[in-house]
Amino acid sequence: MKADPAAVATGVHFIDGNEACAEGAIAAGCRFAAGYPITPSTEVVEHIAKRFPKLGGVFIQMEDEIASSICFQGAIWGGMKAMTVTSGPGLSLMMEHVGLAAMTETPSVFVDVQRGGPSTGLPTLPGQQDVMQVRWGSHGDYEVIALAPNSPQECFDHIITAFNLAEQYRVPVFFMMDECIGHMLGKVRIPEANQIDVRERKFTERPPGQYLPYEIYSGDQPEMVRAGMGYRIHTTGLTHDARGYPEMNAQAQDKLIRRLCNKVLDHTEELTLCESDQIDGSDVTIIAYGITARVAAYAVEQARQQGLKVGQLRLITLWPFNDRLIRDVAQNTRSIIVAEMNLGQMVHEVRRAVGDKVPVHLIDSAGGAIIEPETILAKIKEVVS
């Protein structure tokens, strides 16, 4: 399917990441959003609130993020494409419903414009401290998909990816922006609608009576329906069988939870979006994501001008984490620096994947200001010397 030409704001715009994210969601077919204001994410829903009434969409400002994060799931089961948008404290409130979306296999998009935490922390300043929370924040074992854009253009492009992946995998998909990317103004080229691939929700073709909402008929995904199609489905956050009925015992749990995890993990390669540059034969490779990767690119350029052999890997897909990708980097470089705006989150994943093959260094930050290119350059020099 292609995007709806009546909705897509085709053209070249000078807008910030938050607005680009809103426009991308619209292009992806999102017509319902529930949210609660929170800096630095609010502009996303403000823009949505302005645009939706002209597009047959509905935005509702809920009473809190707990409500927002389940209200949009109600709309999804009603057949709409929908999202919720938040930042740190709101994300914390949403955690129970991340688990619900994982358990009920609801194709849901959570936009998280990250700020410094914990608690109220730094409302107006950036951080990358939610990376582990989106992965582990809800109780129990589950898998999610998380993408980190690094420019307003990518906010547009990859929120569409996020919606498409949500439909394909039926999992919570996190769109991990940060204050810098959200408020960064930049040129955003919005293509013609017929250039934008949109994945429609695929409803079952089986007739009622020959369909179970959580049966695997082919592949590793159940087939979806929406309320009102005559299938009389039941969904529950309880451990359930193929009918969606509660079945609470260790065997049913094992079967369901492994399937929910594996339907993501088994597709890690297809889900991996990244950019790598001059890693082979480098003395050091920088691994970063989001705004930090953007800064790192500048530092890497400086280092290369000074004759240093520096590679770069920018992760766009944060979850599922691709161990193979990181091991390949470790094969071809002499050392790794992970730079991230937290006190060390993804570095644990990198270290786990690399083992003791090459040393893995960390440039950390408690958040509040982007990591300066000089800091990265200095670390590169320190590591290669």
């Binding site: 009434p53 709409m80 419903h97 299938y231």
Partner: protein, 290 residues
């Protein structure tokens, strides 16, 4: 279960609504939740609602299990959050009737904030609250409806907090239809449920029901039959009673009836009106998923 004839036409209205393959249910002998479901099935039968366009949403609790037994599109959500889920569903499905069926703790303790806002917004849904004065599912703790002095596991010396008067609270927040019955009043409850189901906007029914296993037993109030006897002897029907006067005390008289019936535009009515006024022909109303 599986050897039940599949080609027979069910004549029992309750059977028509239930997922018969899930019976027996989890409710204790003498519990009032099942009676309320029986009334709900009969009420539905008296409406023109197409079962394919009826959606039942529950939170978590004994009453929260209702969604699992009704043979319609049904959603068992999280504790306290049935209403916000139903809000999204009701907006997405303007042609559907959305019913929230849950317990007093689910709707008024953990879910209280959502309830007052859905009533304020006049979201098009019917909320059925089974008030058993306790947290059934978790073993009999105190709730915002446990009367003064009643014992619960977390108020072993008797409850000392004040309670919510549910009809009054819901009316204050803007509900268009408010009623209260006990599970003794099955005919009147059916009538009220029928009315609520046929009402546009946020309608609310409090169903007072016994929990013999926890509330009755801990307070030495006898079994389910004794509870029904109390409901019979101490209830007075006062349709139109001011809701401020219908608060409940421990084993007090119970005022039941239809208290509020005053329609007003729903959330989507107001959305459409406002956007049409301001945006004119630039407004594209949401008309349901095609």
């Amino acid at each position: 279960m599986s050897d039940a004839p599949t080609n027979s036409t069910p004549t029992n209205p309750v059977e028509k609504l239930l997922r018969m393959e899930r019976i027996p249910h989890i409710w204790c002998p003498g519990c009032g939740v099942g009676t309320s479901v029986n009334c709900f099935a009969r009420a539905l039968d008296k409406t023109d609602i197409d079962y394919d366009n009826l959606h039942v949403v529950s939170g978590i609790g004994c009453t929260g299990r209702v969604a699992g037994y009704v043979n319609v599109d049904s959603f068992h959500t999280t504790h306290g959050r049935a209403i916000p889920f139903a809000t999204g569903l009701a907006i997405a499905r303007p042609e559907a009737k959305v019913v929230v069926y849950s317990g007093d703790g689910d709707l008024f303790a953990i879910g209280g904030n959502h309830l007052i806002h859905a009533a304020r917004r006049n979201i098009d849904m019917t909320v059925i609250c089974v008030n058993n004065f306790t947290y059934g599912m978790t073993g009999g703790q105190v709730t915002p409806t446990t009367p003064y002095s009643a014992k619960a596991t977390t108020t072993p010396y008797g409850n000392f907090e004040d309670t919510f008067n549910l009809p009054n609270l819901v009316e204050s927040c803007g509900a268009v239809y408010v009623a209260r019955w006990t599970v003794y009043h099955v005919r009147k409850l059916i009538k009220s449920m029928t009315k609520a189901l046929n009402t546009k906007g946020f309608s609310f029914i409090e169903v007072i029901a016994q929990c013999p296993t926890l509330y009755q037993r801990r307070n030495k109030l006898g079994d389910g039959v004794m509870a029904l006897q109390y409901y019979k002897e101490r209830s007075t029907v006062q349709n139109g009673a001011p809701t401020v006067d219908v608060g409940l005390d421990y084993q007090s008289d119970i005022i039941v009836g239809e208290f509020v019936d005053k329609p007003r535009p729903t959330f989507m009515d107001k959305y459409n009106t406002r956007m049409t006024e301001i945006l004119g022909n630039k407004f594209v109303p949401y008309e349901g998923v095609k």
